[in-house]
Amino acid sequence: MVPVDYYVILSAILFTIGVLGVLIRRNALIIFMSIELMLNAANLAIVAFGSVIESFSGQIFVFFVIAVAAAEVAIGLALIVEIFKSKRSIDVDQVSGLKG
């Protein structure tokens, strides 16, 4: 028997690694992958809680999250390709056109 807090701790660790990826790395693609990692960590916690209360709502919610993540990736990667075309770089420090 696995207590649910083990899953929750694992989910918190993965989420923290995702946050670190967003904060430390300057490569836009790695930052985007870290966001995917955070979405996955949240999904894992939702499914674990759903399993504890023996309900399907958690799984359905995760299904919708996966669908929205797919849409988000399509748009986000298109934006990154556009940024690369105009800046010749995907370093987020280079995207400072609005800086005062």
């Binding site: 693609l29 996955n40 996966i66 669908a67």
Partner: protein
């Protein structure tokens, strides 16, 4: 130690190690492949939690579609090996301290709230694939039909948006 717990611990080690590999690797292609490994371990966690449909959706959508799209863009841009940027010196320690604080708070709150909930269902009870799929389908198309349709419109909008974003405009200079 039961078999469930041993399986959980081994998979958790793989998940954390692959996430750290994604965070630390210089080469973007390696980072993407580490993330694929991480998504597959999370899919196995879904199987352990009695969600076979979500596990298969995770593998097809995340590792099959999303990460392939990532690899495609990495290779399209030729961004495998970027030179290390001259980052701000105080940024990394500050980021690590903030992330540690976030983890401590989240872990404390979640454990305090979650401890009373008890154990997850053992896989032998939780996995009953046909019954799971039938109930999931009924719930999805009866109680959650409107969100389902809205998600289909969202995917259509995303598809059109991605095409219009990357398409060359007529008469515009290159790109």
């Amino acid at each position: 130690m039961t078999l469930d717990l041993a399986l959980f611990l081994v998979l958790a080690c793989i998940a954390v190690a692959s996430a750290l590999g994604m965070l630390l690797s210089r080469n973007t292609v390696y980072a993407a492949l580490y993330l694929v490994l991480n998504f597959i371990t999370v899919a196995i966690f879904y199987l352990l939690l009695g969600a076979p449909f979500i596990a298969m959706a995770q593998i097809t959508v995340y590792t099959g579609a999303i990460m392939v799209l990532f690899l495609f863009v990495i290779m399209l841009l030729g961004a495998e090996n970027l030179p290390a940027p001259n980052a701000l010196p105080w940024q990394k320690p500050l980021a690590i301290a903030l992330a540690a604080a976030l983890f401590a708070e989240a872990a404390y709150l979640l454990i305090v709230k979650a401890r009373s909930l008890g154990n997850v269902l053992p896989p032998a009870e939780a996995i009953n694939a046909t019954e799971n799929l039938r109930q999931l389908g009924v719930a999805l198309f009866q109680n959650y039909l409107l969100p389902f349709e809205i998600v289909s419109i969202l995917l259509l909008v995303a598809m059109i948006g991605a095409i219009t974003l990357t398409k060359k405009e007529k008469g515009a200079r290159s790109g």
